[in-house]
């Protein structure tokens, strides 16, 4: 999923300024799962916006609406009336959601309420980690299911670098060296010889910046 984090409050309050009414739009997708932009966070952010206004003696009302997905305009019907009345919209969707709302309502300022961080997952309550760099050319089958593009700080395809010590990354000792993990996994699978293969330069044009994806079979 896409992992996001609420923006620092002072920055968000500054971006909203004295605007009123404010539509705080949440998303029940990824950002709800990572507790950054679902129903609960919509109410927290809207409460904070109202509180801030009251403290400063400014009139402010809010609309609070969470749609099933902000990355698909077909779910935006519930936003229409509030969007018409609101001065600005604070979207707690990921960067995609913010843009889709802005595209659908081009005459209204849309303020991102979260920072979109990465594609990742959660292995422990309250902890999310990056697992995919969206490179468009997956090589996990060759690296024991461990992504060096994402998890090696230098994205080495022929790692590891010389800074890994005791299996930790030199850039962040809290993280394991991805290439040590790859080595151990391939070794356990009896596939060490594959590590001797020189991986050629990657075709980065396949990932970020590529697209759109068109599936003729799904186009009406």
């Amino acid at each position: 999923m896409i992992v996001a984090r609420l923006k620092p409050l002072p920055a968000l309050l500054a971006a909203v300024g004295d605007s009123s009414p404010v539509l705080v739009a949440g998303c029940q997708g990824c950002v709800a799962v990572c507790a950054a932009g679902g129903d609960k966070e919509v109410n927290v952010v809207a409460d904070l916006l109202e509180l801030d206004a009251r403290r400063r003696g400014v009139e402010r009302s809010t609309f609070r609406i969470t749609v099933p997905r902000q990355c698909d305009c077909r779910f935006f019907d519930p936003l229409a009336a509030a969007m018409a009345a609101a001065r600005v919209c604070v979207s707690l969707g990921c960067g995609v959601g913010v843009q889709y709302i802005a595209d659908c309502y081009p005459d209204k300022p849309v303020i991102p309420g979260v920072d979109t961080l990465f594609a990742g997952g959660s292995q422990a309550a309250g902890v999310w980690e990056e697992r995919c760099r969206l490179c468009g050319d997956c090589l996990l089958g060759e690296t024991g299911g461990i992504c060096p593009v994402t998890r090696c700080a230098k994205g080495l395809l022929n790692g590891p670098c010389g800074g890994a010590v005791n299996g930790r990354c030199e850039v962040d000792a809290a993280k394991p060296c991805a290439w040590q993990l790859i080595y151990e996994r391939l070794k356990a699978q009896g596939r060490l010889a594959e590590l001797e293969i020189i991986r050629p330069p990657k075709d980065w044009s396949a990932g970020a910046g590529a697209g759109p994806v068109v599936r003729e079979d799904l186009v009406p």
Binding site: K154, G155, L156, N158, G163, A164, V165, G167, E170, I198
Partner: protein, 316 residues
């Protein structure tokens, strides 16, 4: 094959090679590099210019290499993939060759988070192994995309390796990849832990890699006990505590540091497969001539006359 550089010739002829590091300044003058190159040229076979070492922005290594050339030295041009994509890497290699630079050291580079611009976006379009292959391909007359390079450059290509990172089998495996990708010489991380280094060399010899690549052991003369302690905290460097105690106990720590460097060089010279040393006396380059002399490595081969074929002397 005729050697393309003095360094290659020294190694091909079986001499124990000596190179030294010259760090470019944080400023817009080549004077200090030229002075250091002048200081080191008769005591070393090549002078290695670092490329934004430790991810700290400095005068670029290509310009620094030209300053070394103009001062009558022989540069080893360091090139990292951290700051350049494949277009820039290839064009810098061609540019370097056009300026008379014949030795190139291919590295990934320290991560930008370790340096003085931690907010920078790292490039890492290629890794060091891929850069080695790229250099070889250019020398063979082709860009990565397949276009013709005319005329192709000529380089003596090197890489780095850290004998002290683990796991050991993976280190040796990766060294093998670098050799397969075209590395002709290897500079190692600074050696303080001789026992560990010897274990790595044993593994290197077991694979026969010592016959396929020239290994230059890294030497960092410690200037003080404090400097040595600082180095011991750098990831990938191992400093035995006995060595730190020895430095602390010394009356004249700088003198002791030089003595340690000389001893290490003498011991490394006896390790089968070690074909030279690379001395990294960062901001203490003045110590290099004395260390080289005391280690019994003078005069340098070819130092008198100037048949330093292929380097910039004739071309400058």
């Amino acid at each position: 094959m005729t050697p393309v550089s003095n360094l290659q010739r020294v190694l091909d002829q079986g001499h124990f090679a000596v190179t030294a590091e010259v760090g470019p300044p944080k400023g817009a003058s080549g004077e200090e590099i030229a002075r250091l190159a002048g200081l080191l040229r008769d005591y070393t076979d090549a002078q290695n210019v670092t490329d934004n070492q430790a991810a700290v922005a400095r005068l670029c290594s290509l310009a620094a290499a030209v300053h070394v050339l103009r001062a009558g030295g022989e540069p080893v041009f360091q090139l990292t993939t951290r700051d350049r994509n494949r277009l820039a890497l290839q064009s810098d290699l061609l540019g370097a060759a056009s300026l008379g630079i014949r030795n190139v050291l291919c590295l990934t580079g320290d991560h930008q988070k370790c340096g003085n611009h931690p907010q920078a976006r790292g490039v890492f379009d290629l890794d060091s192994v891929q850069l080695l292959e790229t250099a070889r391909r250019l020398c063979a007359g082709r860009f990565l995309c397949g276009d013709e390079v005319k005329p192709p450059p000529r380089f003596f290509v090197g890489a780095v390796e850290n004998p002290f990172a683990d796991p050991l089998p993976l280190r040796v495996l990766r060294l093998g990849k670098k050799v397969a990708a075209g590395a002709r010489f290897i500079q190692t991380q600074a050696v303080f832990d001789l026992e560990r280094f010897v274990r790595w060399m044993d593994a290197v010899r077991e694979c026969g890699l010592h016959r396929r690549v020239y290994i230059l052991a890294g030497i960092v003369p410690p200037r003080s006990a404090g400097a040595l302690k600082y180095m011991s905290r750098i990831p990938g460097i191992i400093v035995p505590s006995a060595l730190i105690r020895r430095m602390e106990a010394a009356q004249d720590q700088a003198r002791e540091g030089k003595r340690i460097a000389v001893e290490l060089i003498r011991q490394l010279r006896g390790v089968e497969g070690v074909r030279g040393v690379h001395i990294m006396a960062i901001r203490w380059e003045e110590a290099v001539p004395e260390i080289v002399a005391e280690a019994g490595l003078l005069p340098r081969p070819g130092g008198e006359d100037n048949n330093r074929s292929g380097n910039g002397r004739e071309e400058a």
